[in-house]
């Protein structure tokens, strides 16, 4: 798989470099593979490079779907059964 994580851009430097923040952990990464990066964007970071951006509207939509499902079926399943 490809370990990658969304993190927020907090600074932009020359030569396609940016500084990202993830819950207080900050790191400098390359943004050579993505276009139009702005401070505040959430980038998907993989091996020190951004490979894409999170689209906030799409994310919100997905979360809205979740909320709808939660409304229909609240806590409908039990927790894992105890150890066999």
């Amino acid at each position: 798989m490809c370990l990658a994580i969304p993190a927020r851009v907090i600074a932009l430097f020359g030569e396609d470099r940016a500084r990202i923040d993830l819950a207080g952990v900050q790191k400098e990464i390359s943004i050579a593979l993505v276009e139009d990066v702005a401070i505040g964007d959430y980038l998907i970071v993989h091996v020190g490079y951004a490979i894409g951006k999170i689209d906030p509207e799409e994310a919100a939509e997905t979360l809205a779907t979740f909320a709808a499902m939660r409304a229909t079926h609240e806590g409908a399943l039990p927790l894992t059964p105890p150890l066999a």
């Binding site: 798989m1 490809c2 370990l3 990658a4 994580i5 969304p6 927020r8 993830l22 819950a23 390359s30 050579a32 593979l33 993505v34 276009e35 959430y42 998907i44 993989h46 091996v47 020190g48 490079y49 490979i51 894409g52 951006k53 999170i54 689209d55 906030p56 799409e58 994310a59 939509e61 997905t62 979360l63 779907t65 979740f66 909320a67 499902m69 939660r70 229909t72 079926h73 609240e74 806590g75 409908a76 399943l77 894992t80 059964p81 150890l83 066999a84």
Partner: protein
């Protein structure tokens, strides 16, 4: 962590699971292959199987670049480091992959080979610049997600005219492997898979479009999913719904990061540097045509295979190992006779036990308690 924590909510998971349970038809079989190790990892780590009804089965696919790396190519990497006495830079993931003669890169390192763990392809380039009198080879592995970085450092090396840097390219392609799983059966229609969870970050790069041909040809739905547990569950629900409806379309659960066209800029860099390789040997799957990349002739000075005349020698997978069947969805890790006895993450025999994302390793590390329970009580999986 924004865009992470929201997708790990247990309450929501149980709601989605309830929908799946409600919609999955009891007499029907939903055999879903999560192609990607990232999904395997999420399923194991969050115990998602506990949330799925019995008729929905997850089958671990070959989507872990470490697991599918064949013995022969690890052998070549070890030979580069040991015989050529050069600096071999590698992601830590490959260090413990078993090679011939009981070796691995880690063991070769312990025997004196100069193997350096890097976190980024950039580090390999830096090491080459810092050691001008030594050859430095970057042992590049990974699917489409990890390929653009390798392409970028080759471009940079060319720009800086670095003569001591080269790349041993092992980048492989997702759609080709998915296709192979369908093709390699005598009758593709009879393949025991009813749908695919499509990869997250691979698709961030390549987009969702490349899967269209696949769904059309093999009549199996593909839902691209993120790697968080709710992503996986939602994708399963989407697949159940397609199967119920007799549909086989490409759908995109991971729309917050994946577009139809993917990352055009990254694709351009990749296609500047790489071209299709005629065939590549996948551990567990065997030779798969047009399933990997090789460095274009314009950059051949940076191609370690040419620079060091690396000849690929195919090495048969270990006899006892059931990986081939597991990766095709025919068997479960627990079906392998040596699982957890002769084959463990410490001393893996087969490909699937190597990376924590391998089907067998994931089961061993996160799900062994269930296998053990099953074995103890004699209940079949």
């Amino acid at each position: 962590m924004k865009y992470i924590d929201e997708f790990r909510d247990g309450e929501t998971a149980r709601s989605i699971a309830a929908l799946i349970a409600a919609e999955a038809q009891p007499q029907k079989s939903y055999r879903l292959m999560e192609f990607c190790g990232g999904h395997t990892h999420a399923i194991s780590r969050y115990g998602l199987l506990d949330l799925l009804p019995a008729q929905v089965r997850m089958i671990h696919g070959p989507g872990c670049p470490v697991c599918v790396l064949p013995i022969g190519r690890i052998d070549s990497a070890i030979a580069l480091a040991s015989t050529h006495k050069l600096i071999l830079c590698t992601y830590a993931d490959t260090l413990r992959v078993p090679a011939s003669g009981g070796l691995s890169l880690l063991k070769a390192k312990a025997r004196g080979a100069d193997v350096r763990m890097v976190y980024s392809a950039d580090d390999a380039l830096r090491i080459a610049e810092e050691n001008p009198s030594r050859e430095v080879v970057f042992f590049a592995i990974g699917f489409e997600t990890t390929t653009p970085m390798t392409a970028a450092v080759i471009q940079q090396a060319a720009r800086r005219s670095l003569s001591n840097f080269s790349v041993f390219c092992n980048h492989v392609l997702t759609p080709a492997a998915m296709q192979h799983i369908m093709e390699s059966a005598a009758d593709p229609d009879a393949v025991a898979l009813d749908g695919f969870v499509g990869p997250a970050h691979v698709s961030t790069i390549i987009g969702s479009a490349p899967y269209e041909a696949f769904t059309q040809r093999y009549k199996r739905p593909v839902v691209i999913a993120g790697f968080e547990p709710l992503d996986v569950l939602q994708a399963v629900l989407m697949l159940v719904r397609q199967i119920n409806a007799g549909r086989s379309a490409v759908e995109n659960q991971f729309s917050r990061a994946v577009s139809a066209a993917g990352n055009i800029k990254a694709q351009a860099i990749v296609s500047d540097v790489f071209e299709l390789r005629e065939a590549f040997d996948w551990r567990g799957l065997g030779e798969v045509p047009l399933s990997a990349l090789t460095i274009r002739s314009a950059y051949s000075a940076f191609d370690a295979e040419q620079k060091f005349s690396i000849a690929y020698r195919q090495v048969a997978d270990p006899k006892a190992c059931e990986c081939a069947a597991i990766l095709r969805g025919h068997k479960h890790p627990a079906d392998c006779k040596v699982f957890g006895s002769a084959c463990t993450p410490e001393q893996p025999i087969g490909a699937c036990m190597v990376s924590s994302e391998g089907a067998c390793a994931a089961h061993y590390t996160y799900g062994r308690h269930k296998v053990m329970a099953i074995r103890a009580t004699g209940v079949a999986a």
